[in-house]
Amino acid sequence: MISHAGRRLTGRVAVFGVVVWLVAFAMPQPAQAEYADVVINNYADAAGMRPAVFPHWFHRIRFRCKVCHADLGFKFKAGGNKINMAKIIEGKFCGACHNGEVAWSVENCDMCHSGVPGTPTHFHGSTVQRLVAPPYKALDATKRVKQ
């Protein structure tokens, strides 16, 4: 038979366990986006838009790497192309396909500009991110604009 003190201790441990469990779930959940999703936030936050999210997985089902990275001139670097809407409307970068002919057109703003505001430009799940960089924190978008 368990003594009264023992039972009280069990109760305390149970309460502690519940608290830990609740705290663990209240903490910010880590991003579980697809490997190789790219968040591009060169200018979006400053312009009051959500950052753009580029899903590599979706595009590689339809096109080989060469189409964008050789023919359209995308560099192998997240945020390295300095893309803005003017270039896209001129038919460069994303605009080569997202023109209403090969794929849907640019008036569907929130299909690309769908990232969590304040997320910095990065490759989701990259080795570098896992090795040396601290976990990404969402920056306060309003503060960044003021600077």
Binding site: H4, R7, R8, G11, V20, W21, A24, Q29, P30, A31, Q32, A33, E34, Y35, A36, D37, V39, R50, V53, P55, H56, W57, F58, R60, I61, R62, F63, R64, C65, K66, V67, H69, A70, D71, L72, F76, A78, A96, C97, V102, N108, C109, D110, M111, C112, H113, S114, G115, V116, P117, T119, F123, H124, G125, S126, T127, V128, L131, V132
Partner: protein, 228 residues
């Protein structure tokens, strides 16, 4: 008068607390009977199984192919997020791996499960495939590296890698894992978009076993050791 009041109120508080303590230590009849009426063996078995399902490291369960609204990068408050295709829907029927997108993209292409275009607007264009394996001996005891041009030229043009990333000349490219992990050489793609560098994927590149008579090269310190 005021002192007396405080004494009375503190007494009342102590009374309430003691009642609470007694109540909490009282055996709760219903629970008690349900636990102890079972046989001892059954109770132990139940306890062990609950211990085993407890998430001891408090690791969060990860969904490797979460839908955009739940993936932590897309903003669920954005209406467009809910229009985007969930990856799992697109991955039906594709061969799987244990890392990255959990999809073996090269195998999917080889098997014909994918038909991605080689030209932006021409669905019939075929890639210029070069079938040439490059063996790179590795100083360490891990298996040597075999670089297959075929799988790479199925996806990429020569100009993507040559000459900016890899000088097309034997012995001209010094590659090591530190550089790759930090995003240079093979790491320009591997570890970012193509299969990632994890302990599960070492053998994708390090695939050629060392010769039977292979011995690790001796270090300078060993060779110069006068007591050797």
């Amino acid at each position: 008068m005021e002192r007396k009041n405080i004494r009375i109120s503190s007494l009342a508080a102590a009374f309430v607390l003691s009642i609470g303590a007694v109540w909490s230590t009282q055996p709760h009849a219903n629970n008690e009977s349900s636990v102890f009426s079972d046989s001892g063996v059954m109770m132990v078995a139940a306890d062990v199984s609950t211990a085993n399902i407890f998430n001891r490291n408090l690791k969060k369960v990860k969904d490797p192919n979460a839908a955009p609204p739940e993936d932590g990068i897309h903003d669920p408050e954005n209406p467009g997020t809910h229009v985007l295709q969930p990856p799992k829907e697109a991955y039906v029927g594709l061969p799987t791996t244990a890392f990255g997108n959990h999809i073996d993209w090269v195998k999917a292409l080889d098997d014909g499960a994918l038909k991605p275009r080689w030209e932006r607007t021409d669905p019939t264009a075929e890639p210029f495939v070069m079938d040439l394996d490059i063996v790179r001996p590795v100083k360490a005891s891990v298996p040597d590296v075999v670089f297959p041009h075929r799988q790479h030229t199925e996806w990429l043009a020569c100009s993507n890698c040559h000459p900016a990333i890899f000088i097309p000349q034997k012995g001209a490219n010094q590659i090591n894992m530190s550089a790759i992990l930090l995003g240079q050489k093979c790491g320009v793609c591997h570890g970012k978009v193509s299969f990632p560098i994890t302990t599960k994927s070492c053998r994708k590149c390090h695939s050629k076993p060392k010769p039977a008579d292979w011995k690790p090269p001796l270090s300078e310190a060993t060779l110069k050791n006068p007591w050797r």
